[in-house]
Symmetry: C2
Subunit: 282 residues, 2 copies
Amino acid sequence: MEIILAKQAGFCFGVKRATHLAFEAAERGGETYTLGPIIHSPQVVQRLEEMGVKALPNVDDIESGTIIIRSHGVAAHELDDAMTRNLEIVDATCPFVKKAQDHVAGLSKAGYDVVVVGDLDHPEVQGIVSYATGRVFVVSCEEEAQKLPRMSKIGVVAQTTQSFETLKEVVDVCLEKGSEIRIYNTICDATAVRQEEAKALAGKVDCMLVIGGFNSANTKRLAEVCAELLPRTHHIETASQVDPAWFDGVKKVGVTAGASTPKWLIDEVLERITEVERDKKR
Amino acid sequence: MEIILAKQAGFCFGVKRATHLAFEAAERGGETYTLGPIIHSPQVVQRLEEMGVKALPNVDDIESGTIIIRSHGVAAHELDDAMTRNLEIVDATCPFVKKAQDHVAGLSKAGYDVVVVGDLDHPEVQGIVSYATGRVFVVSCEEEAQKLPRMSKIGVVAQTTQSFETLKEVVDVCLEKGSEIRIYNTICDATAVRQEEAKALAGKVDCMLVIGGFNSANTKRLAEVCAELLPRTHHIETASQVDPAWFDGVKKVGVTAGASTPKWLIDEVLERITEVERDKKR
Ligand code: F3S
Ligand code: F3S
């Protein structure tokens, strides 16, 4: 049985980088904190905790030590607070998120009213928005964009996980709201690329495993997308859930994983599949 | 019979201004030329000719005197040529067209590849394009935009008479071609506003007259739009074409005119209608 692991399985560039920076800081030792969970992975957060890294909701209670900024960034004033307190800062904000923050700051400075295409409840968006020094609006869809006032110069950025369709729709509305529109397409295509690759893989294997939290939205979506093409798709969280019966008559098995699934979980699953095969041959 | 003249009948702001500047220059006397026809109106061009103003295709043959730049502008090098020759320049370029030219120059300077949404054959577009110092493309529709290469920073301007729909479609494609898009909506709404007003007028009168050249695209379109709502719509070029029979049983007559129709032609038609009515009452 051939096992094919998707190239884009698991951590995206930004999550990989943030995790790396966090473990590096943890290994250096000393008082170390993260501002909110470093990435959306309970396993990673737990491992860091075991190494003495605490996740705190804000900097208020921290007097000294190192503070790690999570992958989707924090509000400008939180970073300022950390600097004022003379904490050592490890900025694990994903460079793509940072770019969106910088563009908002630049647009504000250049006199643009800023429109952020995204979800107001998401911490990434709250962080991005905080970099505006002038007017800023958050819209998640065309209907919300319709309610924007008329403006003369409009700057547009997007939450990194927005769909391209929504960005397009909001831009179309903005064209009716102002005479100059400046758009930075800050959408990160990691999610879209992972899905496309998974679809291609599901099309050429007999069985597909998708690894990631049952409550992870992007993993669930990934499993759905594969199941549409290949009913023999199984969404699992850990290696122990692998059922040997799944591989009956299977020549090729595909494996992928959500954005918050650490490599060690993927490796455990790959090992488990090999084990199952060995057992069968005996 | 009530006669209602549309507020937006005839010359738009830019054509009015250009005509005014041209007649002013003509009255000052001396050698005076226009670079191409000053506006798209044979009557105006003829009147200027009678006052000694010649329309020339380029500046090559002009050694001295005054040169009037037409409403839809000229290419940057033609203006430079005129300056080099020490000619007196009366720049009747519509300020809205000028804006599009300036934005193209500014975008090029700021490192943007420029996309002009418009018709490559139109002199206005050729003028606008000439202000680019970097890469510049002209696209008239979505399909043409699809063929654009990938670019990093894209600046977009529109020919002043473009439809908003086309601008939107091209912008949507540009969003897929580059990561930063800066759009100046340089569409002038004079034509759209005139059509909307004409439609509203056609809806409340019994008979509608649309004045303008039979070969004028915008006048023909204006007549079509009215005829759809009111079959008793008549497209005429001059007062002599008014047929008294048109007003049988008519309580209200609406009058509008294309963008290149001079006020004196409209006045003659209004007088003619009044005359027809007077004759009938006798
Ligand atoms: S965290 Fe990941 S999903 Fe994109 S924006 Fe950064 S690479
Ligand atoms: S010439 Fe007229 S149609 Fe608009 S761009 Fe200038 S006012």
